[in-house]
Symmetry: C2
C-alpha cells in the first residue's frame, strides 16, 4: 500500500470512529488537544501526520493504534 | 502511553525486526529509500516520524504497521 493510501485509509478510520462516538470535529479536536481546523484534512488523508499525533487521535477515541491499522490494512 | 513512549517503543520494534532480518542500518536505509543517518535516531525513538515514513519502514521489513503496533502495545 503506498504512503498516500495509508494516509487516506487512516483518515477514513478516524472519521468513522469519531462519528461512532457522536463527536463533532470541534469536540474531537478539543479532546485531542489539536486545532479544530486540523481534523478535516487528517480525515481526508491530506495530512502526513506524525506518530505522536496519531497516538493523540487514538487515545481521544479510546482505541489503540494497532486496532486502527488492523482496520485499514484488512480492508484491501 | 504517552507520545514519547510510543516513539521509543516503535523504534525498538524497528530495530528488533531489522536485526532479525540481518540488515545493517545502511542496508535498511537503502531499502526504505531513507538516508542512512536517519535510522539510528528512529530506532532510539528520537524522531517523531510521519505515517508515510512508518509505512516505508514496515514495507522494507516485509511487515504491516498493525503488526508493529500490536507488538509495542502488548508490551505494557
Amino acid at each position: 500500500m503506498d504512503d498516500g493510501e495509508i494516509m487516506k485509509r487512516f483518515g477514513q478510520q478516524i472519521r468513522r470512529l469519531r462519528l461512532e462516538r457522536g463527536l463533532s470535529q470541534e469536540a474531537f479536536a478539543a479532546k485531542c488537544g489539536l486545532h479544530r481546523t486540523y481534523i478535516g484534512p487528517i480525515e481526508r488523508g491530506e495530512k502526513n501526520i506524525t506518530l505522536a499525533t496519531a497516538n493523540k487521535l487514538a487515545q481521544a477515541l479510546g482505541t489503540k493504534l494497532s486496532t486502527i491499522f488492523l482496520g485499514l490494512e484488512d480492508d484491501n
